[in-house]
Symmetry: C2
Amino acid sequence: MSVSTPPDEDGTGTAGDRPVGLRERHKRRTRAAIRAAALRLCLEQGFAATTVEQIAAEAEVSATTFFRYFPSKEDVIITDDLLEDRPPMFVGAPPGMSAFDLVRWEVRNLFEWSAGDDWAGNRDRVRLIRSDPALIAAQQDLFERRIGEGTKVLAEYLGRPLDDFGVRVFLGAVTGAINQVIDPEADPEPDLAVQAVMDVLDLLERGIPL
Amino acid sequence: MSVSTPPDEDGTGTAGDRPVGLRERHKRRTRAAIRAAALRLCLEQGFAATTVEQIAAEAEVSATTFFRYFPSKEDVIITDDLLEDRPPMFVGAPPGMSAFDLVRWEVRNLFEWSAGDDWAGNRDRVRLIRSDPALIAAQQDLFERRIGEGTKVLAEYLGRPLDDFGVRVFLGAVTGAINQVIDPEADPEPDLAVQAVMDVLDLLERGIPL
DNA sequence: CGGAAAAGTGGTAGTCACTAACACTAGTGA
DNA sequence: TCACTAGTGTTAGTGACTACCACTTTTCCG
C-alpha cells in the first residue's frame, strides 16, 4: 500500500490516463520545456528580472503560447501538476483519527509524494519561490484554496457540519503556524521541514505554553 | 489612559506633529481626495474594472501623481495612515500578561482605534477589500509584515529569545485562525468581528477539541 | 524682502504582463 | 483521403507602473 508512485512528467507520455496521441505528447513536452526554461532563467537572473518573452524564447514558443499553458508568470513556477492531480486534502485517510493525527498523516503523505518528483521536490524551485514576494504570495494563494477544500473534507471526516467554527479555527491555526515555521528556513532539508511541522503540531495539540 | 483619539485625516491639517505649512496641508488634502475618489469609483465599478487614470482624473491629479502618493493601485485602498502611524503590535502593553491576554488586549485596542476613524473603520472599504482577490492578497501581505514586527516585540515581552520557535508558532496559529474566521463574514458588524476573534482565542487557549 | 534651493506636478515615452482576434498549420477521426 | 479540430504565431491593444524632464510653487535664509 502506502503512497503510489507519481506519474512521469518528463514528456514521454507513458503516464496519464486516456489519450496519448502525438498531440498530447507534444503538449506535455512543451509544458515541461517552458517550466524548465523558466526555472533556469529565473535562477540565473531572479524571477522579477526575467520576462515572459525570455522564457518563451528559451522554450522556443511564442509569448502567447506561454500564456496558453500558464495563466500567469507566477504560475509556471508555483504550479505543480502532481499536486493538481491529487485528490483534495484528507481524502482517503483511514477513519477514526483525531484531527491532529489526520494532519500528520496528510503532511507525511504530501512530503513523500512530492519527494519522488523532479519538479515538485526540486530544491532550486523551492528556494526560488522563497526569494520573491510575488511567488510567495502566489503560493500562499494556492495554499489557501487547497485549505478551503480541506475544510469541507475535514468537517465531514469528523462528522461536523460543513464550515464548522471549530474546524475552521483548527485548520487556520495549523496552517498559519506551519507557514510561520516553514517559510524562513534557509536551507530546506526536506526531513528537517517535516520535523518542524511535526513539532508545530505537537505544540498546538498540547497547547502552547505562553 | 485608554486609547488616544486618532488624528484627523480630512485635510484640515490640525493634527500631525511638526510642519503644518501650506505644502503639507495640500499634500494631505490631495492624499485624502485620491482615496475618496478611488473608493467611490471602485464601489461603483469594482476594483478590477477601475483604472488608475480614472481615479486620478476623479481626484483631479495626473496618473503620475497618483503613483507618487501610492505605490500601487491596491495601496490606495488597503493602506491606512492611522495604523501606519501606530506603534508596532504589543508596544505599550501593561506587563505581566499571558500571550493570549496580550493578543486580546491588542485586538481590542485595534478595533477601538480604527472605529473612530472615517477611513480605517469604513464599512464600504472593508467590503470592497473582501470583494477582490488582489485586495485580499495585498491586505494579507500588510498583515504579514505587521506580524513580523509583532513577533520580535512579543518575544521580548515574554522574555524569550528573538525568533523563538514557540512564539512564531503562537502568532502564526493565532493570526491564521483569525483570518479564517474573519474573512468570510458577510456583514462585518465590528462587534461581531471582535466577538469572533475572542472566541478564536478562547478556543486556542483551551485547546481545540477535535 | 528677494532670490536660490527644494519639493511637487504634469507630460511623454517606455517596459512588461496579459488579452483578443485572425489566419495558418498539423494531428485526428471517419 | 478529407473535413474537423486543436495548437500556434502575429499583431494590436490595455493597463499598471517607472524614468526623465521641464515647469510652478513653497520654503528657507541672508
